[in-house]
């Protein structure tokens, strides 16, 4: 391993590769900040450029874009409540309220430090645990994935506010229903398209997230006639607050970061799981382990609530490279794009990559750490400038949010129908928001819908239609037991508080 690390360091520390990490992080941050243009778009745009480099440099550039875009996505989540990346949806739960309280600078600083710590810790985990983790990852089967997804959905429903469990579960079902629109992945049979060709490929994630978050947020602000004074306060530059994190906040982060980085990394390693589940699970777990007093702050600008998903999503980014590099199975949609690029270089990922191309494997791992340092150096001093987006008055901010949303959809599909669909979903979401129906469960369910169906399909086919697969394997049973414990604990707590 030492030899591998040295090979990796030698490759990653060349001038060209350091420059590529910097360029990748910088452009990734800018693209990730634009709602609708996430890391997948950014990396896809980079593929033609990377063909001019050797495979290691090309992948280092794409990895830099990936981290940068995830951090940029956090920035737009915090400042605009418009997550362009699924992995940063959970960041908006506490980041955006914090920004609304005039602590945008602090929220961005917490996000930057948490991202750095999460990414750095996971790069260290990756360094020492990659070989054994790929074995653990290999042992996961479809029933385990299915159970894990149920756990993720239950966790998000459980951490919605008191008395809203059923509302959250309704949103989960609605999200899964929306995800079921379009062609069935195996048989290509169209479902719920009502003979409309525009729905054949299903509804895009960006469309749903733009409609339920960015657009409906803008419409809700107008609908609720927000007080112009509070709006002025929100956009006042003096209200942005310092980027300094005080001792009490640091203490909270010291506790949150290690546990969230472990969750993020482990979830990231699982093929198909990735930053989204990691951030939601870390958020849910963090809420369950903190004190009742701190729990009340969740969703209202909690430091723990912001630090946990930010740590986890960056840790998951590093973790998602493990299955891609060692098994040839992407850990997320973004690494799937990178996998395509790797194949384009003529590099076949798999267990033999260690032996055939050690410089690629180890230089990517080394560049992860370098990337995290560069992101911190690049983003922390720029926070006050990035945060000035909030200084845009609401009369400008709302049309700009709508403009970013429509542009995100327009450049993706060049289709009027998608724009109408987005407006329609946004109107429904705005109405549901008025009655406290939470949107995050809908988003997570929508993201997981396809994967969940796929894993249920495999599980049921393997067990010949029997549901015994849920308790046949110890791992599946353990995950399900955890899910049941969360539900029972949540109901018990609610019941206890009522009495």
């Amino acid at each position: 391993m030492i030899e591998g690390i040295l090979i990796g360091l030698t490759t990653a520390l060349t001038f060209q590769n350091i420059l590529m990490v910097m360029v990748g992080c910088f452009f990734g941050t800018i693209i990730g900040m634009l709602p609708g243009l996430g890391p997948m778009t950014a990396i896809a745009l980079m593929i033609p450029i990377t063909y001019g480099f050797d495979p290691a440099t090309g992948l280092i550039l794409m990895a830099g874009v990936y981290y940068g875009a995830v951090f940029g996505g956090s920035t737009s989540s915090i400042l605009l409540n418009a997550p362009g990346v699924p992995g940063t949806v959970a960041t908006s739960f506490d980041g955006y309220p914090m920004a609304q309280q005039g602590k945008a600078g602090k929220a961005l600083a917490i996000a930057a430090w948490s991202s750095f710590a999460g990414g750095t810790l996971s790069a260290i985990y990756l360094l020492f645990m990659a070989p054994s983790l790929s074995k653990v990852s290999l042992s996961f089967r479809s029933p385990d994935y299915f159970a894990l997804m149920i756990l993720g959905l239950t966790a998000i429903a459980a951490f919605s506010s008191k008395g809203q469990f059923l509302k959250a579960m309704m949103m989960v079902v609605l999200g899964l229903m929306l995800a079921s629109v379009g062609q069935d992945s195996l048989s290509d049979i169209t479902r719920f398209t009502f003979n409309n060709m525009n729905l054949t490929d299903g509804i895009s994630f960006v469309l749903v997230v733009m409609a339920t978050f960015a657009m409906s947020e803008a419409l809700t602000i107008i609908l609720k006639r927000n007080d112009p004074t509070s709006a002025a306060k929100q956009v006042s530059l003096t209200e942005l607050g310092s980027i300094k994190i005080n001792k009490e906040e640091r203490t909270k982060m010291y506790k949150t970061i290690p546990r969230s980085s472990v969750i993020g990394f482990l979830i990231g390693v699982l093929p198909g799981a990735g930053a989204t589940i990691a951030s939601f699970l870390a958020y849910g777990m963090e809420r369950n382990v903190v004190s009742d007093e701190e729990k009340e702050k969740f969703g209202k600008g909690s430091v723990n609530g912001l630090s946990a998903p930010e740590t986890a999503n960056n840790a998951a980014c590093s973790g998602s490279f493990v299955p891609m590099l060692t098994l040839g199975i992407p850990g997320s949609g973004t690494t799937a794009v990178m996998l395509g690029a790797l194949l384009g270089f003529g590099v076949q990922p798999g267990p033999r990559l260690y032996m055939t191309n050690p410089e690629i494997f180890w230089s990517i791992i080394m560049s992860m750490y370098i990337g995290m340092v560069i992101l911190l150096i690049l983003n922390l001093p720029l926070i006050p400038y990035i945060a000035r987006i909030l200084a845009v008055p609401k009369n400008y901010l709302i049309p700009l949010i709508l403009f970013f949303s429509v542009t995100g959809i327009y450049v993706m599909s060049f289709n009027n129908f998608d724009i109408y669909l987005m407006i329609g979903i946004a109107v429904v979401a705005t109405f549901l928001r008025l009655y406290d129906f939470p949107m995050p469960p809908l988003i997570l369910a929508f993201v997981l819908g396809g994967l969940m169906e796929e894993n249920l399909r495999r599980s049921l086919l393997l067990s010949n239609g029997s549901w015994e697969f849920l308790w046949d394997r110890t791992l599946t049973a353990c995950i399900l037991a955890t899910t049941i414990l969360i539900v029972v604990w949540h109901i018990y707590k609610t019941f206890k508080k009522k009495n």
Binding site: K224, L402, R457
Partner: protein, 156 residues
């Protein structure tokens, strides 16, 4: 049973789930897949039942945290106008082109939201969209369809 808007939403979701379930049963699967343990309609059927279950529970169980919304205080007119502007924007963007429709959408939206600083409104619409287009189209090489700019020879 106390009928409130949350209950009405739950009832609507119940009806929607029933319709979804009915449609799920209508999904045409291949003949050889008809009796398979899993086919294209299996997952949607479970989802339909899950929707009925959760919305049914919400309908039946008492709602201790009733949400009361003061409809009189809501700005329906302004929101409606903004939605209408967005629909018109969506309807014209392909035919007219990205630059003109987006700039006009932004300008008109600022106006309807009460902004009257004309110079700032102009700067944050036409030049802003031009700069954004340059970033997307010129730097990031993302194709933007624009018949208007093509007709006047600005875009190739």
């Amino acid at each position: 049973m106390n009928i409130n808007t949350t209950k009405i939403i739950s009832l609507l979701f119940f009806i929607f789930s029933a319709f979804y379930l009915y449609t799920a049963y209508q999904i045409q699967v291949f003949a050889f897949d008809e009796n398979a343990p899993f086919n294209a309609r299996t997952f949607p059927i479970y989802l339909g039942y899950a929707g009925l279950f959760f919305s049914g529970l919400k309908l039946i169980l008492p709602d201790p945290n009733t949400i009361k919304v003061e409809h009189k205080s809501l700005e329906y007119k302004k929101t409606g106008i903004l939605i209408l502007i967005a629909i018109i924007y969506g309807a014209t963007i392909l035919k007219v082109g990205y630059f003109l429709t987006t700039s006009l959408f932004l300008f008109v939206s600022y106006y309807f939201l009460g902004e009257r600083r004309w110079i700032l409104m102009f700067l944050l619409s036409f030049p802003f969209v031009a700069a954004f287009m340059y970033l997307l189209h010129g730097i990031l090489d993302i194709y933007l369809r624009d018949p208007f700019l093509q007709s006047i020879g600005v875009m190739g």
